[in-house]
């Protein structure tokens, strides 16, 4: 079945440092979405990427979709304590369901 892996599983950074999480799929994805889940909360949609090689920015967040549409990354510049949470990618495969990655838990040390 569909497998979406993320690395690293955990990341601790000092406030102000950059952070990157990588998402890799075993199959080609139709599109990919990114979600953020705060501790005790539910996943909240951040962005969607559809085109091969697409890059999107949201303030300090940069999202990329690989040329082969099998991998993606999220980069946060100059992390803040409000960035704390777990970041998930979710890939849409051949059907219409989304398969979530294993997640990267980000801790920001003030």
């Amino acid at each position: 079945g569909q497998q979406v892996m993320q690395i690293p599983q955990y990341q601790h950074v000092q406030e102000g440092e950059d952070f990157t999480t990588y998402c890799n799929s075993s199959t080609t994805l139709s599109n990919i979405q990114w979600y953020k889940q705060r501790p005790g909360g539910h996943p909240v949609f951040l962005i969607q990427l559809v085109k091969s090689g697409e890059v999107k920015k949201q303030k300090r967040l940069t999202f990329q979709f690989g040329e082969a549409k099998k991998n993606s990354s999220l980069h946060i510049t100059a992390t803040q304590t409000t960035d704390v949470g777990t970041y998930f990618c979710a890939g849409r495969g051949a059907g219409n369901q989304f398969y979530f990655g294993t997640g990267t838990s980000l801790t920001v040390i003030p």
């Binding site: 079945g1 539910h42 998930f88 059907g95 219409n96 369901q97 979530f100």
Partner: protein, 114 residues
């Protein structure tokens, strides 16, 4: 407007009991998804509806799990003869159409099987 509503928020069941988890999607959302999230893990896909049609149930872990959405709105996930490994947070999400729409998640139901 109201978001996705799930009830109950917490459920404790003794092993062997049946449970029913309810999801009220955002009004007008065609697609509805159920996910299972174990502690420290990502949400695992269980099943997907488009209106009242269950288009994919490939993620349901066993025949003890059953989901329905009879009128294309509210959905119920039923787990029969609960086992300890069923303990998890059950998340429901809805979207306008599934293809390129974001998923809107409810707060989930935390199921603990003792």
């Amino acid at each position: 407007g109201a978001g996705v509503s799930q009830s109950p928020r917490y459920k404790v069941a003794k092993r062997g009991q049946d449970v029913a988890l309810r999801c009220d999607p955002i009004s007008g959302h065609v697609s509805l998804f159920w996910y299972q999230q174990a502690l420290g893990q990502g949400p695992e896909f269980l099943t997907y509806f488009q209106n009242e049609a269950q288009l994919d149930k490939s993620g349901l872990p066993s025949d003890r799990f059953f989901a329905e959405r009879p009128e294309g709105s509210v959905s119920t996930l039923k787990i029969q003869r609960t086992q300890q490994e069923d303990s998890a947070v059950y998340l429901c999400a809805s979207s306008l159409v599934s293809e390129n729409s974001p998923l809107h998640f409810g707060n989930g139901t935390r199921l603990t099987v003792t």
